[in-house]
């Protein structure tokens, strides 16, 4: 280990050295048959799904070959940062949409405004995702794949508890009642990813948004989490753990554990994303589950986190036209429906949302509906904001701070980061 750790420090130091000394752009990449080779980086989940579609694109006689590099979601930001710093960035990036504003702001991406305007289907693209790809009136990144959050529940557990497996909780109060009924000596009613800020954005913030609250102002310049609506949502989650004990106390440490707890039958309801559905179908064929919108507060709206990827072209690439040709292809039915929708990924084009796969599978429909309510904050300092958000929410949910004090702390922390 020590050698490995030294090695790691070494690598970090070596990397720091490479910042500033250019290794040249990806260079003259052409394969033996004269095709221009372009690299594309994507997160593991979507890279795995697009294999066939990319192969189909490569086998076309257009002189372009796309090499997909699959990168674990947790490392994506670091690896991309390293690549840009050492000027060895991929030609095309399918980036976690939440990070797009930062990379657009530092000039990592090509301005695609004109090309975007020329698209025949430009009005069909998911508007909230387009917003995250825009900066100062220019379009730098386009929607690529969509991952939204929803409530997933174990139907067998519902039957055990005497609940109707076809009517999932609709409101906060129902969620609370059902969770109480579902909790037994060795089962908990409800769980979420409370150990990472990304997890909380995906699984908790929809409760704030749906209740009429916000994390940031629309322009991303100030915290807005100090509101009665947000406090109410925090109180609701705190009560689930501290008062009702229907959510395990360890929830503030769970990242992937939340999903493991659900798949192992230790928990009956979880908030998760549509990527999980493909995994559940494949790895847990015996698990009979249902999908529902994230419950809303009485008299308020449903909500969801708008996750997924945007696709952009690196400024450093020599092959802009070729890269654009691939992006156009990525937005066709071949990719959006055949590769993505068939696996429960919501197409980013509204005209594809009604497709044969979604018609067959009502669970996918729920996600498609959730996408209509989905939110994501626009900020260039997303990673850094993670810190106060995670810290404050953990303190609230573990009962260390009252929700009122926690939102003040989060709000101050966010403003400190934004004003730095």
């Amino acid at each position: 280990m020590f050698n490995k750790k030294l090695g790691l420090i070494f690598l970090i130091v070596a990397f720091l050295a490479l910042v500033g000394c250019a290794s040249g752009s990806s260079g003259e990449n052409s394969s033996s048959d004269g095709d221009k080779e372009l690299s594309l980086w994507a997160r593991e989940a979507s890279a795995d799904l697009m294999g066939d579609a990319v192969e189909a694109f490569n086998s076309k006689d257009n002189g372009i070959k796309i090499n997909v590099k699959s990168i674990p979601a947790d490392n994506f930001s670091d690896q991309l940062a390293t690549a840009y710093a050492s000027e060895s960035a991929p030609d095309i990036v399918a980036i976690d949409l939440i990070l797009a504003p930062y990379y657009s702001s530092i000039g990592a991406f090509k301005d695609l405004s004109e090309r975007y305007e020329s698209l025949s289907f430009k009005d069909e693209l998911n508007q909230s995702m387009l917003n995250l790809g825009e900066r100062e009136g220019k379009q730098y990144a386009l929607p690529y794949s969509s991952d939204v959050s929803a409530l997933i529940y174990n139907k067998d557990h519902f039957e055990d508890a005497g609940l109707d497996p076809d009517s999932p909780p609709e409101t906060w109060q129902e969620l609370r009642d059902y969770a109480n009924q579902l909790t037994t000596d060795d089962r908990f009613g409800y769980v979420y990813s409370g150990g990472s800020a990304g997890g909380l954005m995906f699984t908790f913030m929809p409760y704030v948004w749906g209740n009429g609250g916000a994390v940031l102002s629309d322009d991303g310049t100030a915290a807005e989490i100090n509101s009665p609506e947000a406090i109410e949502a925090l109180q609701f989650f705190t009560d689930l753990t501290q008062t009702d004990k229907v959510t395990p106390e360890g929830v503030t440490t769970y990242v992937n554990e939340a999903e493991d707890a659900f798949t192992s039958g230790k928990v009956s309801m979880i908030v998760s994303g549509n990527y999980v559905v493909g995994k559940l179908n494949e790895d847990y064929p015996d698990l009979d589950y249902g999908v529902a919108l994230i419950p809303r507060n009485e008299g308020k709206e449903h909500s969801s986190f708008s996750g997924g990827e945007l696709i952009a072209i690196s400024k450093s690439t020599e092959y802009v036209d070729e890269a654009w040709e691939f992006i156009e292809y990525a937005l066709t039915e071949d990719v959006q429906v055949e590769a993505f929708a068939s696996n429960g990924i919501i197409p980013v084009r509204n005209d594809f949302v009604e497709n044969k796969y979604f018609k067959e599978e009502p669970k996918y429909q729920v996600f498609a509906e959730a996408a209509n309510y989905a939110n994501a904050p626009y900020t260039t300092k997303y990673n850094e904001l993670y810190n106060p958000i995670l810290s404050g929410l953990q303190k609230a949910f573990s009962g260390e701070l009252s929700p009122e004090d926690a939102v003040v702390e989060i709000s101050d922390g966010i403003n400190d980061v934004l004003n730095k």
Binding site: M1, F2, K4, K5, L6, L8, I9, F10, I12, V13, A14, L16, A17, V19, G20, S77, D78, A81, T82, Y84, A85, Y102, I106, G107, A108, F188, G195, S196, P248, E249, G250, T252, T253, V255, E257, D260, A261, S264, K266, V267, K381, N383, E384, Y386, N387, L390, S391, Q394, K395, S398
Partner: protein
């Protein structure tokens, strides 16, 4: 007095002559020197340079003078991480050493099957840190972890312990995991030292009627000093640079109470893209490590060299 100086000069001249003869042998160490220059000296100088700048991922760098360093001293999180790392080092270093030393004494005997136990104790060292951290994270889990399962079933606790829920439990839990993982490495260093102690020394002591404890105290430990020094330095450096185990097992939480220095440097550099600030902390960390290693080397110098 005069003769002494003359003698010294003679010695120096003699050394010079010898050095001349061996000049060609520098070629042999050239690859090592070159690697060191490329992968250590140059990156270090570059890091040093970056520590005086505000250095974003792309675009303009701004010269800041010493303000990154003054900022660090006012940064509450830096000090939280500093003291947490110090606490971790103070907890894990003696733990690893005591266990490794006992194991080394045990397997130093020429008994049948002892090679098997050497391999067993060393085995965790070769598992990658990430894999071990994930396995132990599962063991410590409150819902489906095997440790809480036994604690509950044996009636030792009534509710599962949230090992990763608070720094006061996650620090000992992770220290235990690291001891399991690293004791084998320290054990091998100490074993090598033990085996280099001539058996005659022990035989002579036995004839004089020394007990086993006395032999350990007055022969083994003094003669093992260089090995102990090496083992402790490696272990202290490893602990001060502790990172992956915390990244994976606690994520630095809750509320950044278990964020080690390297983890904080990583966050500042690769998550928030403040490469200058990260470099400045790296420089401070390097100075701390040099001082620590120097002190240990002084204290645990081989008695023969003094």
């Amino acid at each position: 007095m005069k003769t002494a100086i003359n003698q010294k000069l003679l010695i120096i001249r003699g050394q010079k002559k010898r050095n001349k003869v061996k000049l060609g042998s520098f070629l042999f160490i050239l690859p090592a020197v070159a690697l060191n220059l490329i992968f250590f000296i140059y990156p270090f100088l570059q890091t040093l340079r970056m520590s005086f700048y505000e250095w974003p991922l792309m675009g303009e760098k701004t010269y800041l003078g010493l303000s990154n360093f003054t900022q660090i001293f006012l940064d509450g999180q830096f000090w939280t991480s500093f003291w947490f790392t110090a606490k971790y080092t103070l907890m894990v270093t003696p733990l690893i050493f005591i266990i490794a030393f006992s194991l080394a004494l045990l397997i130093n005997k020429r008994l049948p099957g002892v090679a098997f136990f050497r391999a067993v104790y060393f085995a965790p060292v070769v598992i990658s840190m990430v894999s071990s951290a994930l396995v132990w994270l599962w063991i410590y889990n409150d819902l489906y972890g095997v440790l809480n399962y036994y604690l509950l079933n044996l009636g030792i606790v009534n509710d599962p312990i949230l090992w990763m829920g608070h720094a006061s439990t996650s620090l000992p839990a992770i220290s235990f995991m690291i001891t399991w993982k690293m004791a084998g490495f320290t054990m091998i260093i100490l074993l090598a030292g033990l085996q280099s102690i001539p058996t005659e020394t022990y035989e002579a002591a036995s004839i004089d009627g020394a007990s086993t404890l006395k032999k350990i105290l007055y022969i083994t430990i003094p003669m093992l000093k260089p090995s102990i020094g090496l083992a402790l330095i490696v272990s202290v450096i490893g602990s001060v640079l502790g990172f992956e185990q915390f990244l994976i097992m606690t994520g630095g939480g809750p509320s950044n109470t278990t964020t080690t220095i390297v983890h904080y440097i990583y966050n500042q550099s690769f998550k928030y893209f403040h490469f200058g600030y990260g470099s400045a902390m790296t420089v401070i960390l390097l100075i701390v490590l040099v001082v620590l290693s120097y002190i240990q080397l002084r204290v645990l110098r081989n008695p023969a060299d003094q």
